[in-house]
Amino acid sequence: MNTNISINRRQFMKLSLASAATFGIGFSATGCSEVASGKGDAIIFNLWLEIAKDSSITVIVPEIDMGQGVHKALSMLIAEELDVDFENLRIRHASFAEGYRGIHTGGSTSIRSNWSAFRKAGAIARQMLIKSAALKWNVDESECLTAKGYVQLRDASKKIPYGDLVDTAQTLDLPDNVTLKSPVDFSVIGKNIPHFHTKEKVTGEFQYGIDFETPDMLVAVIRRCPVFGGTLSDFDDAKTRKLDGVEDVVKFGNKVAVLSKSYWISKKGADLLDIKWDTKGFDSLSTRSIRAELASQLPSVIQTTNDKQLEAVYEVPFQAHATMEPLSCVAYVRDGEADVWAATQSTEIALREVAQNVLNSAERFIEKMKSKMSDSRNIDNIRIHPLYPGGGFGRRLEQDFVVEAVLISKAVGKPVKTIWSREDDLMHGAYRAMGMIKASGELGENGYPKSWRFHLASTNTRRGFVDAHQRSYSIDKFEHTESEVQTLVPAGYWRSVGNSVYAFYSECFLDEMAKTSSIDPLEYRLTLLAGKSRQLAVLKKCGELFDWNKPLAQGRGKGIAYYEAYGSYIAMMVEVSIQNQGVKIEKIVSTIDCGIPVDPKNIESQVEGGIIFGLTATIKSAITLKNGRVEQSNFDNFPLIRMNEIPSIQVHVIPSMEAVGGVGELSVPIVAPAVVNAINNATGKQLRKLPIKAEDLV
């Protein structure tokens, strides 16, 4: 049965855009009752789609696609309700100039937050196109239907492409009601449809942030103090300036930039700088010193009952994002005006931070007052142009790389492109926090937990949030407290954020409780999730595909982890074998229930990709500090999992009609506990610290 929805006219609006050659549907998140006259005065409308007179359809996406497939998935929502061929859709990033309030992509929210508005927009447009055709043909709307970009009469005697109806559609009012398709009728959503952009990505045509250029641009390579908190005391650029091609050397804050027309010259020039850093008082910071502080914040556990008590301490290191595309930004600042091109995950934050650095304080005050009055986040003379990132993983929510380019351009009055090296990226990252956790719990006589408590001591709690600590397990008493050790190590949102830490210690501790009670860890979880159908289904399917109950050979182990976040459910089972040189992950099976799967093949890719991303952090690499600086600098000392190191991976997406849940980050958190639980099972040890290294198994 199709769903009939009433349309709130303060929320949806048709838009005649500047060119008047298109018919567009926009959605207002603010729900203001006044009508916008054009470029976002009283209301900010988020545009979802434009239909042009030549019948081309442009989907305007308010999200960044960094490989997680959201541009395709959001377009599928439009294609479904609007009834057009998917291949004919074009994509454009939503921009401030069109009255859009800013893109901010993260938290696995792209589909969930746009699901309803995108479907409605497509359905509204389709209905108005039908009405337009009905008017043209002087028939009742019920005589018309749509067929992949055309409106036609039921008997197909008349047919007209959408583009030819744009003029009429622009004159109509929004409908009072619109009908959304029933999931059982979906012909696009949930189907396997070829990905656009795929061809450009294999031919080298696809453009990323680092590929962008403007005329007369200078390329900047920056030197930053390797010790967090250190300052620039002095520098000698005599050798640098003598290098053929170097055009300028710019000091800004505690950094020095070398500018030329090409990366290589700027890099060589930067290498020739003789810089004196003042690091006194900052160079004793180390992983060891931080660990000692974290440990001192862990509470003692006091036994208050006669129940069997368990206690354990877990440890997680700093982690780096290491996007394949290094950070880069092109900025052109002049006379209080700025254009910024960057592969950022947030044009919203970029705008704010660029404005802070470009506008003087009086201008900032005026902009602030304007934004209060009209809820407009437009700042006309500052334009952020989002580019496609070669990986984001949360790193690009920090705009440090944007601000640097802006400051240099402001200093030289020319367009400037900054390019970070891999060393810059790993040593000046925005890291997933380091933490130590005290876990404790009491077991009932039946071996199941009566209570469990965690205290997380972390170097950053703000960028370490967890979706929901309390999950579906039926455990009477649950407590989670946090404390922070302040350091100068920059913190960032690492794919899955606090879930990446929480899943590790909670799922490993649950396993310890199961082991103490001599209960199979799958059975343990099934019992604790009794009565919860989606949760049980995810675990049971995983067990079936993995063949959990099959006995394993000597030297092998199996592990399980289960997690809920972003409105989705996921289970993972891992088989490992102990070898001379360390652990070998033999196979991983994962099942996911993310509600209605929009793009199933891509969901599989995201889960599998997240597994490989999580594996690097579980058995390979971490960020450590010594003498106030990061010890890792490139892929030789921060290696990533390679093709010859991946296990057999099987991902199963559970068919569902439930509300859409997030996927992009979901598989990362459970890799570590599933693998560690498997290693503990194989070795009889109780490993509680990441990453697992070969020497941990000797």
Binding site: H197, V202, I210, M324, I612, N634, F635, P639
Partner: protein
């Protein structure tokens, strides 16, 4: 500053740059061929892979002064006339996520199969491990070469 003569994508070129400039930056900055990517600069990731005289080479590790008179082919030239079989297999298997590392992987794969059409799955995996993918698309690459299209010429 040196002037080096070599062939790039079938065209004779005279490049005037510092002799130690890596081919990667000659391609990207001098010739505006941005399909070849920068990611690590130390030859550890393969994003910068090109063909030099038919072999897969990491262009960030190749100084322009060392390859005078050679024939360089970049990703842009592979599909100049029509899409390559390997690129088509990659598209069919929907390998790419962010896509940044894909040109490097594809250049490596093309060189491997050109030199040994009967390359086995294990040989492929072993050789391709010179290239990194942070999005984790490795299995799809293997599927593209062996499961979707069992014989790749």
């Amino acid at each position: 500053m040196k002037t080096i003569e070599l062939s790039i994508n079938g065209k004779a070129r005279r490049i005037s740059v510092a002799g130690d400039t890596p081919l990667l930056w000659v391609l990207r900055d001098e010739l505006k061929l941005t399909g070849t990517k920068f990611s690590c600069g130390i030859g550890a990731c393969g994003a910068c892979t090109v063909h030099i005289d038919g072999k897969a080479v990491q262009s960030c590790q190749t100084k322009i002064e060392d390859i005078a008179n050679s024939h360089v082919v970049t990703i842009e030239h592979i599909s100049k006339d029509k899409i390559h079989k390997i690129q088509q297999a990659w598209i069919n298997a929907e390998v790419s996520q962010c896509g940044y590392c894909q040109p490097g992987h594809i250049m490596k794969a093309i060189a491997l199969f050109s030199n040994k059409p009967s390359l086995s799955r294990d040989e492929f995996i072993s050789a391709m491990s010179s290239n990194l993918c942070r999005c984790g698309t490795y299995n799809r690459m293997i599927n593209a070469m062996f499961d979707a299209a069992p014989t790749v010429e």
